[in-house]
């Protein structure tokens, strides 16, 4: 068959299947990410159907998917929100980092994957899925809840932590020495601070540079700028994703909102392909051996996220049910765990079992997270004494 025809047929079939999976996910009210991953496992290396024709395109699309995911993560919060979030919730953020990085890193060390593997798995278990968390909070009508700002500010902190973590991870994966690694940490901290200052003081200039009333011009400007910055960042060994993320932070105000709207469909498409590609490159036969570890890790890191949420919500003066709601909302891991694992796998310095473990882990957490958020309330209620409804005196003349 003509190679172009083969590529188109394969790509069309895959995207169409993704559409079916996304519809199924919407029907049962879950995140589509685990289904995309399963779809990817089903095709590709060791799976039932081998896709040869679309490999090159899918690979590049997956990269663009990561860039768009990070760009939109940067767009989500304004620089001012990031700074106030950091100031107000750094204690909870640090606790979150400690409690959730250690289990992943520890397991990696135990399995003999070395410091690099520990860096990667720590990141995978640390980062909550802000996408799933936001959707769960909206779907369950909890936006007006008192614990919601607590959850959001922890997500904001994770967001900033990613900006420092990703360049360090890239440097570690490239196998640089400790001195060079520390230098990268210094540089990335400096770059993050610089971008925040620029975004706070001169964000409108950056926004102006890409903004346009014409949505076509706007889209092309945005995408062009994102790919350029990502490419330059990659050339400087800082990781393409971080470049896009920084651009997202620098774009602010109304431009950021319209950018989110314009980019959403593109992000959905390319991110879906990214998840599939990750699944494609993972051999499904490698999953059963690590399933036990993934389950153990899932249980431990679900508990650690709940502890984080409970602690942070308690500090904010929230009642017991609200504390557990905050904890449960943080459990879900998703897109960014896969982004981290994907960076590691692409570098080829981590064992293939790591990809399998990360896949299994995210599959469990992306499904269990929303379920936990939904059912935490009735469960907490079971353990509490029922409260009698007080009778209120109606207002009016006595």
């Amino acid at each position: 068959m003509d190679p172009l025809a083969l590529t188109l047929i394969e790509l069309g079939a895959v995207v169409f299947c993704l559409g079916l999976l996304a519809r199924l996910a919407g029907r049962i009210g879950m995140s589509p990410i685990p289904l995309y991953l399963v779809g990817g496992l089903f095709f590709g290396a060791g799976g039932l159907v081998k896709l040869e024709g679309m490999h090159e395109f899918a690979h590049l699309s997956g990269e663009i998917g990561v860039i768009l995911l990070l760009l939109m993560l940067g767009l989500e919060y304004t620089a001012a929100e990031l700074v106030t979030g950091l100031r107000r919730s750094w204690q909870a953020g640090v606790l979150d980092l400690l409690l959730n990085f250690v289990p992943g890193a520890g397991l990696a060390l135990m399995l003999g994957w070395g410091v690099v593997g520990a860096m990667v798995m720590g990141g995978v278990t640390y980062i909550s899925s802000s996408g799933i968390a936001a959707k769960v909070i909206t779907d369950l009508g909890r936006i007006g809840n008192r614990e919601t700002p607590v959850v959001l500010s922890i997500l904001v902190f994770e967001d900033l932590a990613m900006a420092v973590y990703l360049p360090v991870l890239t440097a570690t994966l490239a196998g640089v020495s400790i001195v060079l690694g520390l230098q990268t940490v210094g540089i990335s901290l400096a770059v993050v601070s610089l971008v925040l200052v620029v975004a706070l003081r001169h964000g409108h200039h950056v926004s102006k540079a890409v903004h346009s009333e014409n949505s076509e011009v706007f889209l092309l400007n945005l995408l062009g700028a994102a790919l350029l910055v990502a490419g330059l960042a990659a050339a400087m060994q800082v990781s393409a994703a971080v470049g896009a993320f920084m651009l997202g932070i620098a774009i602010s105000g109304a431009t950021a909102h319209s950018a989110t709207r314009v980019l959403e469909p593109l992000r959905d498409l390319f991110a879906a392909i990214f998840f599939v590609v990750f699944g494609l490159n993972t051999d499904p036969r490698s999953i059963p051996p690590v399933l036990g570890w993934a389950l153990l890790l899932a249980i431990v890191t679900a508990a650690t996220k709940v502890v984080t949420g409970v602690w942070a919500a308690k500090r904010a003066g929230i009642g017991i049910p609200g504390r557990f709601r905050a904890g449960a909302a943080l459990i879900a891991r998703g897109e960014f765990s896969i982004v981290i694992a994907g960076l590691a796998v692409a570098s080829g310095v981590v064992p293939p079992e790591l990809a399998a473990l990360a896949t299994a882990y995210v599959l469990i957490m992306a499904i269990a997270g929303p379920l936990a958020a939904r059912f935490v309330e009735p469960i907490v209620r079971l353990f509490r004494r029922p409260v009698r409804r007080p009778a209120y005196r109606t207002s009016g003349p006595a």
Binding site: T84, I143, G144, L152, P321, Y392
Partner: protein, 160 residues
């Protein structure tokens, strides 16, 4: 009244307060401009029993209803000493013959002896409105007069 304002990073702002009956009530203002009315459950003030999306018009109408109620209660309190004087609220419907007309055209004081002491519009109070104030649909008129006078005024505003 102490209204708490809380940032919701990535979403917008929440403004709420605790009522004397132990419920939290307020609004969520989204970055994109929508408004949601939120009410907590009675046993857990941290939750939301309901979050009701409101259009700009609906929010203004609700504001009028609540604000008008307060004004009417204060006025009744002030007139309690004067027997026979009552405060009532009239809303200008989209069918009213006086919508988009100056209020003086209805000649309410001449025909019924009732005084319009204030107009509630989009959550704001226009005190002692002059006869040349143009009435809009959704306006809430605060009227003071006798029981019979107010009945007459209501019929004037409805039927012309």
């Amino acid at each position: 009244m102490n209204v708490d304002e809380t940032d919701l990073p990535g979403l917008g702002r929440r403004k709420d307060f605790m009522t004397a009956s132990g419920r939290r009530i307020g609004v969520v203002e989204y970055r994109e401009g929508q408004t949601e009315l939120i009410v907590s459950t009675w046993d857990d003030p941290d939750t939301c029993l309901a979050s009701v999306p409101l259009t700009a018009d609906e929010a203004a109408a609700l504001g009028n209803l609540l604000g008008g109620q307060r004004l009417a209660m204060q006025l009744s309190e002030a007139h309690r000493e004067v027997p026979g004087i009552v405060t009532r609220q009239f809303s200008i419907s989209a069918e009213s013959p006086f919508q988009n007309q100056p209020m003086g055209k209805a000649c309410i004081r001449t025909r019924s002896g009732v005084s319009i002491v204030a107009i509630m519009r989009e959550g704001e109070v226009l005190p002692s409105p002059a006869p040349d104030v143009v009435l809009h649909p959704g306006d809430l008129l605060i009227a003071v007069g006798t029981q019979e006078g107010l009945d007459t005024a209501a019929s004037i505003l409805r039927n012309g």
